[in-house]
């Protein structure tokens, strides 16, 4: 396990470096002077010249990269053109919404996805299985923004049960009850991902149910429900738990569309608005943060997976 952890950590570093080079090059792929791009249209020639020398834009590209990387490691991701604030604090202000939204979505995925997936697998081949499998596929075929718009139509505009947009911080007036702002968005975001989990739970349970230990359990005369839960589901859970990790990592960026529909002040909407505002330092910063987060979560999932299933690290 220790050797496996070390190996995985060592392979993470070159991938992280390569990804950081791509993120760095992003600003240079936009036609024009990078200093002028980072400062926006309102910058004076003097300001452009000053940033140019600070960031070393007159030096060769690889030196510029090291200057940028050392700034990033110090926590300096540049300054937002639109907000005039450090990029890191702009991203930080969207973090609460994004993390809460992703967490609430995960709760729906687990609460809805697991039982339906188990039901589908235990009733394998029956009409219940066909209904849930097709239903899951249908749910995964719905564009999230369309679903979101109709949830707003029904539950906010017509019934008036939930707010249709925005999200005041939990530290603002209302406290924990502000989570009601995230109910519809989290359900919207959960729909396609729950569908994936249902299909995954079903597939991994069917895989495990073909193994010898399950046949033994059945031959001993154990109750089918006990076999399904203790012998099949517990083993299938290893793959499912890994999928939860990957899903959580992906939710942060998948939330782009949902956050836009519900006007939530999260990181996803920040990316879209920054693209429309041509706020390149923020775009670059968000990409870097999301990619690093995505890679670290994926590594953590892999390590947890190896811990749950020792066969993985022996391969």
């Amino acid at each position: 396990m220790l050797a496996y952890t070390a190996k995985r950590l060592l392979t993470l570093i070159p991938t992280l470096l390569a990804a950081s080079i791509l993120v760095f090059l992003f600003v240079h792929l936009i036609p024009g002077d990078p200093a002028a791009i980072l400062l926006g249209d309102t910058a004076t020639p003097e300001e452009v010249a000053q940033l140019s020398s600070e960031m070393g834009f007159d030096h060769p590209l690889y030196i510029q990269y090291f200057i940028w990387l050392s700034n990033v490691l110090k926590g300096d991701l540049g300054t937002s053109i639109f907000f005039g604030e450090p990029v890191l604090s702009v991203i930080g202000s969207g973090a609460e919404t994004s993390i809460l939204l992703a967490s609430m979505t995960m709760i729906w995925i687990i609460l809805i996805g697991l039982p339906i997936g188990i039901l589908s697998a235990t009733k394998h081949g029956t009409w219940i299985d066909q209904m849930t499998s097709s239903g899951a596929m249908l749910a995964a075929s719905i564009p999230t923004f369309w679903l979101g718009l109709y949830l707003i139509m029904i539950f906010s505009v017509t019934l008036g049960w939930f707010p249709s947009s925005g999200f005041p911080s939990l530290s603002d007036h209302g406290g924990i009850t502000n989570l009601r702002y995230l109910l519809l968005p989290s359900l919207t975001l959960a729909a396609p991902n729950t569908a994936l989990i249902i299909r995954l739970v079903r597939a991994s349970m069917l895989d495990v149910s073909r193994e010898d230990h399950v046949r033994t359990a059945r031959a001993k005369g154990l109750h089918p429900t006990r076999v399904a839960i203790k012998h099949i589901f517990r083993n299938a859970l290893i793959a499912v738990a890994a999928a939860f990790g990957f899903t959580f990592a992906a939710l942060i960026s998948e939330a782009v569309v949902t956050e836009t529909v519900f006007s939530l002040p999260g990181i996803g909407r920040l990316v879209v608005q920054s693209i429309l505002r041509r706020d390149y330092p923020v775009i670059q910063g968000v990409i870097l943060v999301i990619v690093v987060l995505y890679m670290v979560i994926n590594l953590a999932v892999d390590l947890a997976y190896a811990r749950l299933d020792p066969r993985v690290s022996l391969k």
């Binding site: 070159p14 596929m137 782009v256």
Partner: protein, 283 residues
Amino acid sequence: MNAMNFLQAAFAGRRLATLGFLWLVMIAVAAIAAPLIAPFDPLEIDPVGRLAKPGWPNLFGTDHFGRDTFSRAVYGARMTVIIGTGSVVVALLAGGLIGMVSAYFTKLGHFLMRGVDVLMAFPALLMALVLITLLERSVFNTILVIGIVYATTTARILFGMTLKLKGEVFVDAAVCSGVGNLSILFRHILPNLVSPLLVQASFIFAFAQLQAAALDFLGLGLPPEVPSWGNMLSEERIYVTRAPWLLIYPGILIVLSVFSMNLVGDALRDSIDPRFKDDISGV
């Protein structure tokens, strides 16, 4: 097994998948014959007849410019086919080539697949957004961006499958009889990958529709005047309370098409070579 038998086997006893296939045939017909089917010009503006309810002669009503929604939906089928097919071609050509070559020429492959790993560190939608920032909004660029995003997964899948085939006896036999590397790769290995490629293509087609619609919605996909189902939803969303039908039709068209493509992909996957079954995961 020839193509016709393969399709027959895949759809036998699967009523829902067969319906899905028929729906896709209808979309294809609508795409090809759009000018013949659409009763009006999809771009023609009629300020007097704006936001008309569904009825006659505007079957699906009109939008806020007074454009005929049914005609735009018919032309939208054309964009669906163009975006889907284009993304599939880009993803399979770029990803397929990288995956196959990497599996066959291991030294080069080690390098190439590390590159694919790095690209896969970027979540799909984020990567599409980054690429679109660098490019202008156009049909071609939307196809390119979605194609590149799915090229990475395709490369990884094809890498695994080519690696499996490379260890088979028929490849050893070809090597022994002096067949060249490229010939082994494209004339001996590739024909065995046709059916899994078809399955992968159907899933990419489905995903591409959702991604394209999401990009349209964010205002970062096709140019706004192009009649695509995603653009129709994006442009008319503020009229959701006054003219709900404007969002119902394009939305249902997208759902039905993506669902059909997923059903077809699922049916095809269940009937391909069992060696490759676990390699491709769709929805």
